[in-house]
Amino acid sequence: MLDTARIRPDFPILGQKENGHRLVYLDNAATSQKPRKVIDAIVHYYSFHNANVHRGAYALAVEATEAYEAARTALARFVNAWGREGVVFTRGTTESINLVAASWGRTNVGRGDTVVVTAMDHHSNIVPWQILCQEKGATLRMVEITEDGRIDLSDFGRALESKPKIVAFPYVSNSLGTVNPAAQLSKLAHAAGAVTVVDGAQSTPHLRVDVQSLDCDFYALSGHKMLGPMGSGALIAKPALLDAMPPYHGGGEMIERVWDDRSTWNKIPHKFEGGTPNVEAAVGLGAAIAYLEQLGMERIAEHEQELARLAIERLTQIEGVTVYGPKGHRAGVVPFTYGDIHPHDLATILDRDGVCIRAGHHCTQPLMRRLGVAATARASFYIYNDVDDIDALVTAVRKAGELFGVLAS
């Protein structure tokens, strides 16, 4: 496991109290906390290098551009992108997927076509496709999941028989912790003639990602879940696809020449980065990547899997607790319910002991309907969580049971 005693002091927020207790932050699937190095990188950027990028002829503007582009290089290397030109900075996963839907989707999807998503997708990988399909008269096909919370591969195969234009799925489920066989799914989808869109929001922070070996076409990620600032994120794509796509936002930076009635476009990735970009977010993301690389993604994945294993073992010893998601291999996401206590009440009670968890539908309402629950409680782990955090979680859950006199169901 990681040496959390050395990691925790790097995170200023972990030094503060939550309701008088040690802050036990277990909502990392929603957003991660930020190390001092990321916070400092942003402060340093504004203190010494701030200027608008890609246009100034003066030294400061060159420095800002270099800082911004260095972050692109770092991210390209981090996920083994097809090239720097295949890294488009966005506000996060949601914007990245909307970009693909609005640009590639509007150009290539028409009446009678099919777009495939899965029942475990986050709303951000469902709703943009619903909007596209409604606009184009196309069909959205949702692939079912198995009892133990995996993509149902036989239903996935049936969905591919309709020769979909797009197949979208999450690498790691934010609601279940399932690690999907992304390379296999992508290969099957390609054989059926589709392009693949992988929601990488929950995978990029937690395991070694290599988009070239996944061989997907588009890969969306968020920086704020991987120690970076909110508003940082990217679309990683095959450059040939980006080259052929129309722009997403019109404005400055994304053009080559502008006439009275028409324009030509800048080269990729700049064609998709209209307007002044969020340079501070990119710089902060670059610092986050450096921090993660120094720990090593393999070790991070092992650490979280061990915490998840331990949390599941300890929680399921409590009568009335149900843990959702696959048995065995899973990411550091542990969704659960406890008897007839509503997850919102659980979250409030745990918070009194400084334990922060998420309660609700986790932006996966179609999945919740299939699980037959309105909501779950979810503990999710990251590099600074340790066994003490699990102790605090389990103790607080037991307390909730006492307060409510759980009717174990």
């Binding site: 509503h342 609700g360 309105a374």
Partner: protein
């Protein structure tokens, strides 16, 4: 300042109404009805109100699919007890008093004061208000489902 005690939020009367909600029934013949949604957590309430003349002669609620936390369920239960058999104008006045209490004002009358502890838990105020907004909508004969994200003072 020490954090508020959980016992102030989960008062015994709230735990009791959560465990055995009153008027937890469908009224198929109800002449007023409304649906309330909390899109943040997915909680839903269906409210059925029978108004005869100026009086709420019967009232019932359902929370589909086991949704509804202790606060929203107990609030709906206590609300139905409080307004059943009362004039519509009195129910609207209770709605105002309840809202005012959660916004930091004086305690609402009777058992409704049990929810005064919710003030110290801002993330739970919407749970306590949901049933009351649904009641208001039903009495106004509003066809639109109420949502915690559209009512400005939730």
């Amino acid at each position: 300042m020490s954090p508020p005690d959980l016992g102030e939020l989960y008062q015994q009367v709230i735990l009791d109404h959560n465990r055995s909600p009153r008027n937890f029934k469908r009224l198929d013949a109800a002449n007023r009805r409304a649906e309330g949604n909390n899109p943040l957590c997915g909680d839903r309430i269906q409210l059925f109100v029978q108004v005869e003349g100026d009086t709420i002669s019967d009232i019932g609620f359902q929370m589909p699919q086991g949704s509804g936390c202790a606060i929203s369920k107990a609030s709906a239960s206590l609300m139905t007890d409080a307004v059943k058999g009362k004039p519509v104008a009195d129910a609207e006045a209770m709605f105002e008093a309840f809202r005012a209490m959660l916004a930091g004002g004086a305690n609402a009358p009777g058992k409704l004061a049990a929810f005064s502890g919710v003030r110290a838990f801002p993330s739970r105020i919407k749970c306590a208000n949901l049933a009351w907004h649904a009641l208001h909508a039903a009495l106004q004969n509003s066809a639109e489902p109420v949502t915690t994200e559209s009512a400005r003072d939730f």
